[in-house]
Amino acid sequence: MLFSFFEWLEASALGVFVKDQAATFAIIEAVHLMGLALLGGTVLAQDLRLLNVVMRDVPSNVVTEQAHRWFKLGLWMLLGTGVPMLAGVATKCYHNPFYWTKMIALAVGILFVFTLKQPLLRGDHASLKPVTLKLLALASISIWTLVAASGRWIGFSG
């Protein structure tokens, strides 16, 4: 059932468009990497601030609030380029364990950010325990590192 969806996606207009020319896929891939730089940069700016590694003299509430806006743009860039990339090689991805690792990690990452991390960080950080802030930061770095690394490995084992 699920596999037929992947077959349909690859045969769809989007899949055909991406596969038709090798350059299309490569350009989408490059924009995907720009999204990675933006998402990763804004995640690390927030998390390293919460860990007291960078920007210690800028209030952490300001850092997470500002960086989260651009995190969302990075995430949209990645999703907007990731879906066409998947469409181009959907049936290959279906059989690729790194692809599924990435998708699960990505789902966890998105849920973590929007249902736990951001709701907690929207309030005054002084009202949270320092250990809570640090654990949020460590969890965030771990999950997004896993998403990025397993994403890169989709290409090595295809």
Binding site: A22, A23, A26, I27, E29, A30, L33, M34, L36, A37, L38, L39, G40, G41, T42, V43, L44, A45, L48, V53, V54, M55, R56, D57, V58, V62, Q66, A67, R69, W70, W144, T145, A148, A149, R152, W153, F156
Partner: protein
């Protein structure tokens, strides 16, 4: 110059470190993965600084503060990029030396560094006059936009190295072979 570069690449390719890197599946791919993931540290921090220079984020924090505080993680990221990049070159020296995309990437890289060096100096000199303004002066915004554009070019051409378009020995226009410095095909 092309023959000297090729001679060096040929010599490097015969060294055991190059052969070992090239033949090790996990080592090579993890170096590649580290190179890509460090984008988040190097260009990620750079993007935050450039977006501040464009006046679109951290408007309530002085621009010089953002730039100075994120300098160090950014440079650490660049050092990791440089080391992993050198290792990737060491693993595949001959093809990379004659890669059109690699050559364009190196030119863009130099241009991006020159831009960063020039505008960083100007920024420090002029910081007192506009530092607290949410929207920096025009030339600062131009420098920030130029930086983002150049580094985007570095990402695109870097990613394209992995494809075999315009590899030497292919059916290329003469100017492409000239720009890529193709010698082996002759």
């Amino acid at each position: 110059m092309n023959s000297a570069l090729l001679q060096f690449a040929n010599w490097l390719a015969e060294q055991s470190v190059s052969i070992d890197l090239h033949e090790s599946f996990y080592l090579y791919n993890w170096i590649e993965t580290t190179h890509v993931m460090t984008l988040m540290v190097s260009l990620g921090m750079l993007a935050v600084i450039d977006l501040r220079l464009l006046g679109v984020c951290f408007a309530n924090v002085p621009a010089s503060k953002i730039a100075q505080r994120l300098d160090k993680p950014m440079l650490i990221g660049f050092i990791v990029m440089l080391i992993t990049g050198l290792l990737l070159f060491t693993a595949i020296p001959v093809r990379t030396t004659q890669s059109l995309w690699f050559r364009i990437k190196m030119i863009l890289l130099v241009a991006a560094c020159v831009n960063a060096w020039l505008f960083r100096r100007k920024m420090v000199e002029a910081a007192a006059t506009w530092d607290l303004e949410p929207k920096p002066p025009r030339r600062m915004r131009i420098a920030g936009a130029l930086s983002l554009a150049l580094w985007s070019g570095v990402i695109i051409t870097g990613r394209f190295i992995a494809y075999d378009w315009y590899d030497c020995g292919g059916d290329n226009p003469a100017f492409v072979d000239w720009a890529a410095g193709c010698l082996a095909a002759q």
